[in-house]
């Protein structure tokens, strides 16, 4: 299944909850304010580096660009996708849990 997270990891606990519950090996997409979690050199970077090993982690490019986050600031192992890629993830990974 696909887990999608749209909350800033600095403001809300949604991503923590997702990582606590989602079975290892699943797919996680960060979008909207959730994309801040994908950046290097923040207080949550280590958490996301670990997550990128245990899960397939994706981040929505259009939301990164809107927020001024350059692609080279994205943690290695996190894959950038566009809206078409979002659709593909939904198709390939099955049911979607929105961590609102």
């Amino acid at each position: 299944m696909l887990h999608i997270v749209n909350k800033s990891p600095f403001e809300r606990s949604a991503l923590d909850s997702c990582l606590r519950v989602a079975p290892k090996g699943g797919a996680i997409l960060l979008y909207e304010d959730g994309v801040y979690a994908a950046c290097v050199e923040t207080t949550v970077t280590d958490t996301l580096k670990a997550a990128a090993i245990e899960y397939s982690v994706f981040v929505l490019g259009p939301d990164l660009a809107a927020r001024g986050i350059a692609p080279d600031r994205v943690i290695e192992g996190i894959e950038v996708v566009d809206y078409g890629g979002f659709v593909d993830l939904v198709e390939e990974h099955g049911p979607v849990q929105s961590w609102l």
Binding site: M1, A14, S17, R20, P23, P95, Q97, S98
Partner: protein, 131 residues
């Protein structure tokens, strides 16, 4: 409408629906309106699970008295779920314990699952509705 008109012959289809409650009651309306959705789902004879996790565990806390905030107390409605054959109610243990709650604190009987068990159950669903 055009040739894309969807085929709604859903007769006899039974899917696994999970409703995930992660918000506290009263501070926002999500808890109330998702409960209305759960009640409606009962009419469709689907395989329904309702999960309380994160601040959602507060929704079913006993002893709610909303008179002084002038808002309707909808916590008794959870007790009506059984009458609608919505009987699979789950609470995530980690969320419950972090908030100092135990099964005795809830207005309805629930099954307590670990985060890992809940993740496994979520993985088996067809449709997950959150709000």
């Amino acid at each position: 409408m055009n040739e894309l008109e969807p085929d709604y012959d859903t007769e006899g289809v039974v899917k696994k629906f999970m409703f995930v409650n992660r918000k506290a009651p009263y501070g926002t309306i999500y808890a109330l309106e998702i409960l209305e959705t759960v009640l409606i789902s009962a009419a469709f004879d689907q395989d329904v699970s309702v999960v309380f996790m994160d601040d959602g565990v507060f929704q079913i806390k006993k002893g709610q008295d909303t008179k002084a905030i002038n808002v309707k107390n909808f916590s008794p409605t959870y007790r009506a779920l059984e009458g609608y054959d919505v009987e699979k109610l789950f609470v995530e243990r980690e969320s419950m314990e972090a908030r100092g709650l135990a099964v005795d604190d809830f207005v309805v009987p629930v099954e307590v699952l670990s985060a890992e068990e809940l993740g496994g159950l979520m993985d088996q669903q067809d449709v997950i509705i959150t709000g």
